[in-house]
């Protein structure tokens, strides 16, 4: 994993810029494909019945696609939030507001990164529980 990316003490991601670029683009393509997949089902079966919907969401294709696409959503969201954190939760940026805030900026960013990582993992486990169990 260290070959692909590293995390520093503040929870910041250190990957090659091009790796992040690829992850953001490919994850959005997966999300778009998934939206097209679900919307095309809804349109083709319209007006949709409860039984049709149950058959659709019970299929392995839907379950596997949803499980994979949710990882794409997590990756996409985390990289976006990480970008925001490294822009606005830094000693320099918070220092514009208040010097005391500047001193706790790195710790704030660490907590911010941990919060969204834990939240993402929790949501993913919840999703797996919903669709597989």
């Amino acid at each position: 994993m260290g070959l692909i990316c590293n995390w520093n003490f503040h929870g910041d991601v250190y990957m090659k810029g091009s790796t992040i670029w690829h992850l953001q683009r490919w994850s959005s393509i997966f999300i778009l494909a998934y939206v097209v997949y679900v919307v095309s089902f809804i349109i083709s079966f319209s007006p949709i019945l409860y039984s049709d919907w149950m058959i659709f969401v019970s299929s392995y294709i839907f379950k596997i696609a949803t499980s994979i696409v949710f990882i794409s959503i997590l990756v996409h969201a985390f990289l976006g939030l990480w970008t925001i954190g490294t822009d606005y939760l830094t000693p320099r940026t918070l220092g514009f507001l208040n010097l005391a805030l500047s001193r706790i900026a790195d710790t704030s960013r660490l907590l911010y990164n941990i919060f969204f990582t834990v939240l993402g993992l929790f949501l993913y486990l919840f999703l797996l529980f919903l669709i597989w169990i």
């Binding site: 990957m15 090659k16 810029g17 091009s18 992040i20 670029w21 822009d87 606005y88 830094t90 320099r92």
Partner: protein
Amino acid sequence: MLKINIYRYNPEEDKFPYMKKYEIEKPQKDIMVLDLLHLLKESDSSLSFRRSCREGVCGSDGMNINGKNGLACITALSEVLKGDRIDIRPLPGLPVIRDLVVDMTQFYNQYEKIKPFLQNDTSPPEQERLQSPADRDKLDGLYECILCACCSTSCPSFWWNPDKFVGPAALLQAYRFLADTRDLEKDSRLDDLADPFSVYRCHGIMNCVAACPKGLNPNKAIGEIKTMLLKGKNSKNIIASDGVTA
């Protein structure tokens, strides 16, 4: 009457910066913003600003004029006036030394980082390293930068991470050497820019293009660097040292 608000800050006297109001008779003919500052300095000699060539070549009088970065010496009053009012501030994001004079160290540090000189360790020819006219054309729109910092200081990514994000001015120069067929260090130049901040912190909002007083396009150069980084070393879009596309 012309109402002028100018950012004033003298660290030896002022606790905080403030906007000082001036009023002068509206000039009969259209003058440049730099001429206006000279008129004000006649009545208030404490007003500080940089200037040198007064014809848009040296890049020393970059400042924020009515919300837009530009060179005071080539910005006509008629272009920027909002009614009879004009607000002049120092270039945003850089530490203020005094009034409209900013500390450009962060900007020059980034410029130094990209090694803005030709790297070619082969023995030099008797006269000069030649290029074909087509190869020379690739440098147009790149070499003309005067390092006034109007672009970099209009870029939010540079405001937030001036130590990590190279900034549009230095990236324009980075591409100037990446596109130069005489330069032999393309791989190491790309390695130096491969991290998540140096180039990729540019989100393409094009403030740099809007601000450049020389009409250059740093955003396009940044796009070319990103393409080179995405395709990797020795890829087809990296111009080979002999001037032929590999």
